[in-house]
Amino acid sequence: MNKNKQCYFSANNIKLIDYKDVEIIKKFLNPHARMIAGKRTGVCSKHQRQLANAVKRSRFMGLLPYVAQ
């Protein structure tokens, strides 16, 4: 996995990660639909926490799976 120099969300000046933004969130999930560590994706802690919330909301709303093969 490529290591980004800067956090994707900070670089794009994203203030709040929207749970409806499935395409963006999916970039930070592995094929099992589990979150990828911020260390691997380069996402900063602040946005990693926001991302975690967005993933949970997205899962609850059936936009993302809880588990995927």
């Binding site: 203030k15 709040l16 929207d18 409806k20 933004d21 395409e23 963006i24 709303m61």
Partner: protein
């Protein structure tokens, strides 16, 4: 001074799923009903998206007449509005009573648009009567930029490449 008092308006967003058994022509009616609930408690509706038919990532269960019913599809819509906590409680009550609502979620959000996927033409959310745009566009732009960077930067040095990269990112975001 009352410290619990909030002077800043609070912006909320209601995302909701309507059951897929509703006929398509009745959808505006149902979303109108949801909008009506919000209008009762809210000063201002900031933005909204009418329900669109989507495939769910997993079957969602709803008890219909004492039986579990599994839904794998739904109409998903959202409304962003200004409100207060007391209003949210009454809104949730009325949402729970509505049998056409499969699931809902009220979240705190920002006034400005938080969706970035639309800027990139890669969103795969199924919209009725609208083809999913090509997902390859951002990659294309990236490769173009990479070419540009290749041409201009190699003889000069890393300072320019950073500037070019910033420019590229701005272009992608814009």
């Amino acid at each position: 001074m009352n410290h619990t008092e909030h002077t800043e308006p609070r912006v909320y967003e209601l995302g909701y799923h309507l059951v897929p058994t509703i006929a398509e022509e009745h959808i505006p009616e149902m979303s109108g009903a949801v909008r009506g609930m919000i209008e009762q408690i809210s000063k201002e509706i900031i933005s909204e998206e009418p329900p669109v038919f989507i495939d769910l990532a997993y079957p969602i269960v709803k008890v219909v007449e004492h039986k579990n019913k599994y839904y794998t599809e739904s109409y998903f819509g959202w409304i962003k509005f200004e409100g207060d906590p007391a209003g949210i409680a009454t809104l949730e009550e009325s949402l729970k009573k509505n049998d056409n609502i499969l699931r809902y979620l009220v979240t705190k959000t920002l006034r400005e648009n938080t969706m970035i996927a639309k800027k990139f033409p890669g969103s795969k959310m199924k919209r009725m009567g609208e083809e999913a745009p090509l997902a390859s566009a951002p990659e294309l732009a990236l490769s173009e930029v990479a070419e540009m960077v290749d041409h201009e930067v190699v003889p000069v040095g890393s300072t320019v490449s950073d500037a070019e990269l910033d420019k590229a990112i701005e272009e992608l975001v814009a």
